[in-house]
Amino acid sequence: MKHLHYIYRFVGTALFWFVFGLTGLLIGFVVIPLLYLFVRRPGKRQVATRRLLSAAFSVFVWTACASRLISCKVAGMEHWDPDRSQLLLANHPTLIDVVILLSLFPQIDCVIKEAVTRNPVLRVPAASANYISNRAPDDLLESCVTRLRSGASLLLFPEGTRSVEGQPLKFKLGAAEIAIRARAQILPIVIDCRPQLLAKHVPWYKIPPSPPHFAITILPPVDASQYLSDQDGPRRARYTLNGALESMITSAMS
């Protein structure tokens, strides 16, 4: 019986990624080009693209949960305020964190790897959704701050890459710096996935021994400006805030 369950999950996972890829192709090569044809204004196209991607991601998460390939629990959604600018900072244990988070927060901005902007399938949706590319580090900080100041919400993974299991979380200074410069309201998000799924350098077919459970916890908002005191300049503030965020998310995980 246990063996049968494993086979079910293996085939299910393979089928899932196959359909995921196929949908990606369909969206990238058919739906988005149509959107370019019919929605001329970039602003409206951005909203429509994000709504579409978020809906697609919601369907995927729902399907994966319904077929028991994963399970998912979200807590603290009441801290999310869609009417104001918030900086969402999450740890990054798996490849599908962004899929789950974008399904929960449809219109947020996020930063994508430069490689995505050159990927033939992902290039067009990413441009249409107007996500931020991490091409130049100096522009990146400024673009993120500008978007937040203009009232958008932004999702960042402060580690800059996927977490390494069993090692303490180490955030890069960039996210804290963006928060300080934009005087942002931060929404710390804890993603806890057990057993570990799709970690870095783990191929999709190495499925975990039991269905992974995602516990996503949105912590109460934190105002970056409270870390800016008169004695310590903004330079000190980025370290204090960064350390505070690291320990907030770490302690919520254990």
Binding site: D138, K172, R235
Partner: protein, 78 residues
């Protein structure tokens, strides 16, 4: 701009913007290890150098920069 005044200007930026100890700054002091320049400072420094000299050091070149002497070398080449 001659080398000496460029060096003084960089030194001024490091002291005023990045709160470095003036006496610790020498042309060959390691910016990261001895002077505690962090990744954000490095980005800010690039922006300020561009304003100062009009030259843009590419992030790829800046990755190998360790000292103020290296910074001036990179500026001379770009």
């Amino acid at each position: 701009m001659d080398t000496d005044s460029l060096y003084q200007q960089i030194k001024t930026i490091l002291v005023e913007q990045f709160e470095m100890n003036e006496s610790a700054i020498t042309p060959d002091a390691n910016l990261y290890e001895e002077l505690e320049l962090d990744s954000i400072d490095a980005v800010d420094l690039l922006v300020q150098l561009k304003e100062l000299t009009g030259k843009k050091i590419s992030p790829d070149v800046f990755k190998d920069v360790r000292t103020i002497r290296d910074v001036m070398g990179a500026l001379a080449e770009s």
